[in-house]
């Protein structure tokens, strides 16, 4: 169980998300036709209900955190992430963004090879030799399965094209 403070913040965060959905997302990003006969049939009806339910649940979570019994000192789970852990997570997230944009340019196979090696390095770089071998073999095997057996057109990129 998380600490009272963390649970309260999560509850408030859920409420903020619900308000954002109800006040901004639904009015701006759902197109409602003019000829809706019944309110139940409106494309907005269901998301609105869910938004309100989310708001109530966020409130419930906050209230429970504020009024309920808090876990004893030192027994609450911690959300704290050390600097090194946080840095690795940020790099991993950034790597996913880079992979997404690199696929059309480098192709899926080469991007996957680089992503594999980068992930091994990010987690300490042990058994690098074997890592490089798997990094080359695995994407190539998957490429041949999907493109030659399954008939999927795997993105090739603009530099080196595979047969």
């Amino acid at each position: 169980m998380l600490s009272r403070r963390d649970e309260t913040l999560i509850g408030l965060g859920v409420m903020a998300l619900a308000i954002f959905i109800l006040a901004y997302m639904i009015p701006n990003w759902i197109v409602v036709p003019r000829n809706v006969r019944l309110i139940f049939l409106s494309p907005m009806f269901w998301p609105n209900i869910l938004g309100w339910v989310l708001l109530v649940l966020g409130g419930l979570l906050t209230l429970r955190a504020l009024l309920g019994t808090a876990p004893p000192e030192g027994q609450a789970d911690s959300l704290a992430i050390s600097r090194a852990e946080g840095l690795r997570l940020v790099v991993m997230t950034a790597m996913l963004v880079v992979i997404f944009f690199a696929i059309p340019v480098l192709g899926m196979v080469w991007t996957s090879m680089l992503a594999f090696v980068a992930t091994v390095l990010l987690t300490g770089g042990k058994r690098m030799g074997l890592g490089v071998l798997v990094a080359v073999v695995l994407p190539l095997a998957l490429y041949f399965f999907f493109s030659k057996v399954a008939g999927v057109s795997i993105p090739q990129g603009v530099f080196v094209r595979l047969p």
């Binding site: 999560i10 494309p43 899926m108 992930t119 987690t123 057996v149 057109s153 795997i154």
Partner: protein, 514 residues
């Protein structure tokens, strides 16, 4: 089609080398993946799903069912040999399996685990064959209001997968329902949360969402805390169970199988409670009660029977009603959907051959599980040697290729990455991801049946209580809610009492120290 005609057509589909090959391949992949510490049967099924697109529907679904069956057994191998359960349900197996391994009887524990798994799996498959057709026949009378009430009842299954906090489980489900509304509105064809992006008009790709939610958070977890495997692999010792030992455990195996069938057929309960209930019943009734927890072979048999007894039974609500019984069957729905098959009562009418082929294939899978499992027990040492720091990037590459292959869409890869980040954040904040996925699947069905019902009744809500079926489901929903509220309150009281006791102990300790 008559029953015999359907059976013959199904047999025709299974009695090909391709069907047997893919089923055996699925079982082997499942056992292998389940045996790798850090992989789970859920992740194995999710990662195999994209490979089924290129196959015929029956081959693809048999492959996935094989992975499911193999994965559940495979989880017991590391549970026994290194006390690292491959699946949550295998934790019960570790209670007696690991002490047996410490005493040098790992081979015996694994052998009994295999026997119990195969027998329970077989019993569960028979239950599926008997009950699914009957339930589907009954469900033929359902219209949109009946389906709406059924899905409302099914959503109570979220309580079973919500984990520690029911409120957080429901929040997770509501977010899943909200994300399911992305795309074109099915009645008016207008955009909902598409942000002008044509890729979002068809909604979020189900496979990208599930792989993002269940595979990528494991990679993030490994990147955050890269750890080497710390459990020591025990030697196998003598592999083989004597006939006397098997006879002594048969009662617990059949009891566990029936517990598994009963709990597995109720959506949301899953294998872990079944394994623990079967284990505790075996301990309660065994003459060797005192030996449980110290390396009792009957404990391993009971736990594995309870664990595997759910495997066929969870397919009962899936095939007959189109409702996933747990997270893995929620993923298996994806295999049906990509082949334009919608599980439910109509499938028994339109594709009876596929249904009966699955039934026969499942029976065959019990035999294949026995053969492949026997080999896997001896080969585990090699599986345990797979370095964890190469496993995470391998899963990442599999995810990228697999998700792209679904629709030839790089956009889906982006959706998977986004869901992976979201999935890791929700895990960090102690929100369970399973309710999210189940609600994401059931969301469109819920909304469409709700709106279709109101279209039929010209807006009169009385249609939702129009007959005995809807009344039955409302009653079941209310009963389920009452049960959930009661057990949540009891659980909260128990936790509070524990906390107060530990606080009292803490105060006493500090005062005595003073």
């Amino acid at each position: 089609m008559t029953f015999l005609e359907s059976l013959a057509a199904g047999f025709g589909l299974v009695a090909q080398w391709e069907s047997l090959f893919f089923l055996a391949l699925g079982v082997a992949v499942g056992v292998f993946a389940g045996a790798i510490p850090g992989m789970s049967a859920t992740m194995a099924v999710a990662l195999t799903l994209p490979f089924t697109f290129a196959l015929d529907p029956i081959l693809g679904i048999l492959l996935l069912l094989g992975v499911y069956k193999g994965g559940i057994f495979g989880g017991s191998i590391p549970a026994i040999l290194i006390r690292t359960p491959g699946t949550p349900a295998s934790s019960a197996t570790a209670l007696d399996g690991y002490p047996m391994a410490e005493q040098g009887h790992a081979g015996k524990a694994l052998g009994m685990s295999l026997y119990a798994s195969c027998i329970a799996d077989f019993v569960s498959n028979i239950a599926l064959i008997v009950f699914a057709g009957w339930l589907a026949q009954f469900a033929m009378n359902f219209g949109p209001p009946e389906f709406f009430t059924l899905i409302v009842f099914s959503l109570t299954i979220i309580a079973g997968v919500a984990g520690d906090s029911l409120t957080k489980g429901i929040i997770s489900a509501v977010i899943g329902l909200l994300l399911a509304t992305v795309g074109l509105d099915l009645i008016y064809g207008t955009n909902r949360f598409t942000f002008g992006n044509a890729n979002l008009m068809g909604g979020l790709n189900f496979i990208a969402v599930l792989i993002g939610l269940f595979a990528l958070p494991e990679i993030f977890a490994h990147v955050r805390l890269p750890r080497e495997r710390d459990g020591k692999v025990r030697g196998l010792g003598h592999v083989g169970v004597t006939l006397d030992e098997l006879k002594r455990c048969l009662k617990s195996i059949f009891r566990g199988s029936l517990i598994g069938v009963f709990l597995g057929s109720i959506p949301g309960i899953g294998a872990a409670p079944s394994a623990f209930l079967s284990y505790s019943e075996a301990r309660r009734t065994s003459p060797r009660q005192a030996n449980f927890g110290k390396g009792e072979i009957e404990g391993v048999a009971a736990a594995e029977a309870g664990n595997n007894g759910v495997a066929g039974a969870t397919l009962i609500p899936l095939l007959s009603l189109g409702i996933p019984g747990d997270v893995i069957t929620a993923i298996i729905i994806g295999a049906f959907m990509v082949h334009d098959l919608q599980p439910g009562p109509m499938l028994f009418q339109t594709h009876a051959d596929i249904i009966y082929a699955l039934f026969i294939g499942l029976i065959v899978s019990s035999v294949l599980l026995f053969l492949i499992g026997s080999l896997a027990i001896r080969g585990f040492r090699y599986v345990a040697d797979i370095p964890p720091n190469l496993l995470a990037p391998s899963v990442l590459v599999l995810c990228i290729f697999g998700v792209y292959a679904v629709n030839n869409s790089a956009f889906d890869v982006g959706v998977m990455f986004a869901m992976g980040v979201l999935g890791y954040v929700v895990v960090l904040l102690r929100f369970p991801p399973a309710p999210f996925l189940i609600a994401f699947i059931l969301g469109p069905l819920l909304e469409n049946n709700f709106r279709q019902s109101l279209l039929m009744s010209q807006g009169a809500p009385e249609i939702f209580v129009r007959g005995p079926i809807t009344w039955t489901f409302w009653t079941l929903t209310l009963l389920a809610l009452a049960f959930i509220i009661r057990s949540t309150v009891a659980n909260a009281r128990f936790k509070r009492r524990l906390r107060e006791e530990s606080q009292r102990h803490g105060d006493r300790d500090s005062s005595s120290a003073d």
